[in-house]
């Protein structure tokens, strides 16, 4: 996989999310992703950014245009230095939440992505990476 472009965004406050979402959508449209694909991508991003703001007081959001086997995609990375997730398996289950949300954030974001990766270390922070390919359904 090759990275064609990379942008970093500091996400500290709620309105920062909109700037990030808009840029991700813009780039997804630019590589020719369908409107449904774009919508799924930014909805997943919205869920993951919210987690960062709620549990870790913000973090860094990265947007990359990547290419693999001649197919372009958008890779989003969310990295925070928050408390981390104790039980990843539990956190990935529908309906599980330590906050007062519906518990759809992580599993929902995974369903909306073509590729999903999460790494978390208690006390150190969490990094989530998702990819949606241009031709991903």
């Amino acid at each position: 996989m090759m990275t064609l472009s990379k942008e970093n965004f500091e996400i500290k406050r709620e309105p920062d999310v909109i700037l990030y979402r808009n840029r991700a959508k813009e780039l997804a449209a630019k590589i020719g992703m369908s409107l449904v694909g774009q919508t799924k991508l930014i909805t997943a991003a919205s869920e993951l950014v919210r987690n960062m703001l709620r549990y870790a007081e913000g973090g860094t959001g990265t947007i990359e245009v990547v290419v693999r086997n001649n197919i372009k995609g958008i890779r989003l990375t969310f990295a925070d230095k928050g408390p981390g997730i104790k039980d990843l398996k539990l956190a990935m289950q529908d309906g599980f939440s330590t906050g007062r949300s519906l518990g759809l954030g992580l599993p929902g974001a995974k369903r909306l992505s073509n590729e999903f990766d999460i790494k978390s270390e208690p006390g150190k922070g969490t990094t989530v990476t998702i990819i949606r390919w241009k031709n991903g359904l």
Partner: protein
Amino acid sequence: MDRIPILKMGEFLLVTIQVDLYDRLALTLESDLMNMVSRTEARGVLIDISAVSIVDSFMGRILGNIASMSKIMDAETVVVGMQPAVAITLVELGLTLSGVHTALDVEMGMELLRKKIGPTPTDEEDLYDDII
């Protein structure tokens, strides 16, 4: 602070969301709407989301909350204008928007609201006049 305007149209309240919402803004809309329902004794709330390009789990929860809070204040809620891509995404996200009435556009939403709350008192009087 940013606010979403709420318009009063007879016994209905009309909200057209024309900006992308962040959580605080959605929460403000929720409480503004409930205050308006109480103050104006509105019987219905119509929320137009045709300009909204993203409904995530938080926004979905707020829409559900507005519907159930309105219900216990004797008002019906109809959400209209959802973009196809947003609907596809919502279902995949796992959100069903249960308890929220939906219609395709504002016109059909208004019709649905009227049907939900039944004839207004003035309509009834007219009917009565006709019988006499």
